[in-house]
Amino acid sequence: MECWSIGVAPFSQYSIIPETGSGVFMHEMSIAQSLLDIIKEEMEKHDAKILRAVRLNVGQMTAVVPQALSFCFEVITNGTELEGARLFMDIVPLKGYCPECDVEFTIEDYTFMCPSCGGSKIETIGGQDLSIVEIEVD
């Protein structure tokens, strides 16, 4: 496609980038795939052959449904040498920090406000990440 600046583009002039996705509807599938990539990389690094278990931290404020992620992980490892590995997920609560008061606190009801001074200039220090913590291998 040619790139036009301001001007009139004929009706049919646009490009279509087709089928870039994985063909599945849950974003947990993308996440499971990324997780699997990291696991394979780490296993290779440590010359491990069998995957027993994986431990994850799932922040409270992530768009991840643990059951859906478990399901997707099972689906993509099914029939591979990593089949049967158990997935443990710890939910990490949302935590905030108020620089004014120098206090840390748990954020309740997604209300981003300091419980001491009522201020809204707070930093989120936990509960937003999605990370792999540990793998158990042989």
Partner: protein, 221 residues
Amino acid sequence: MKISVVRNILEANERIAEQNRDLFNENNLFVINLMSSPGAGKTSLLEKTIDALKGDLRIGIIEGDIQSSEDAERIAQKGVPVVQINTGGACHLDGNMVRDTFPEFNFKEMDLLVVENVGNLVCPAEFKVGEDFKAMILSVTEGDDKPAKYPLMFHESKVLLINKTDLLPYVDCSVEKIREDSLKINPDLDIFEISCKTGKGLEAWYEWVKDAVRNKRSKKR
């Protein structure tokens, strides 16, 4: 044997998003990642915004949909460069899909790129594509309980556009409640009440976009 790993699961996407962002920055291109539920008015907002700003700004659009090119056809009629991404099932755009469109654009000749994400109030908030800001639309027909139900997107967005305000007389939706609940989740949120149908409230949004583009260009490298 237990191996401590400690890695962000989305690191691969975030690396690509970071590369996209570097490229946008090199070209002083201001990029918005526009998100909402299906039917909230993303494409209508873009049509209005293009009409209003194309005399001042050089705009490009990336359209993300599971299927079809209807949105790209609508945008192409406005005479700006547009690329349609069909995700073939995936419920969000990621850094890689957005990167695939780059050969279709000439970023040096652009001021503003809007990435219209797949209609979905959950998943797109989790995936960066290299944007400067995320902006979201909530239409009043969806109800005022949405900030409480879908906090992540409200938290990640810089801008909230409350659309279809012309329908307020016909629906049980309190704009005040939307404002209060979303500011609790994100005190820095810029909120605009708009109607893409009547045009009400859109001037303030246009000014916000022009200011944001100006700020980006003044950071010229």
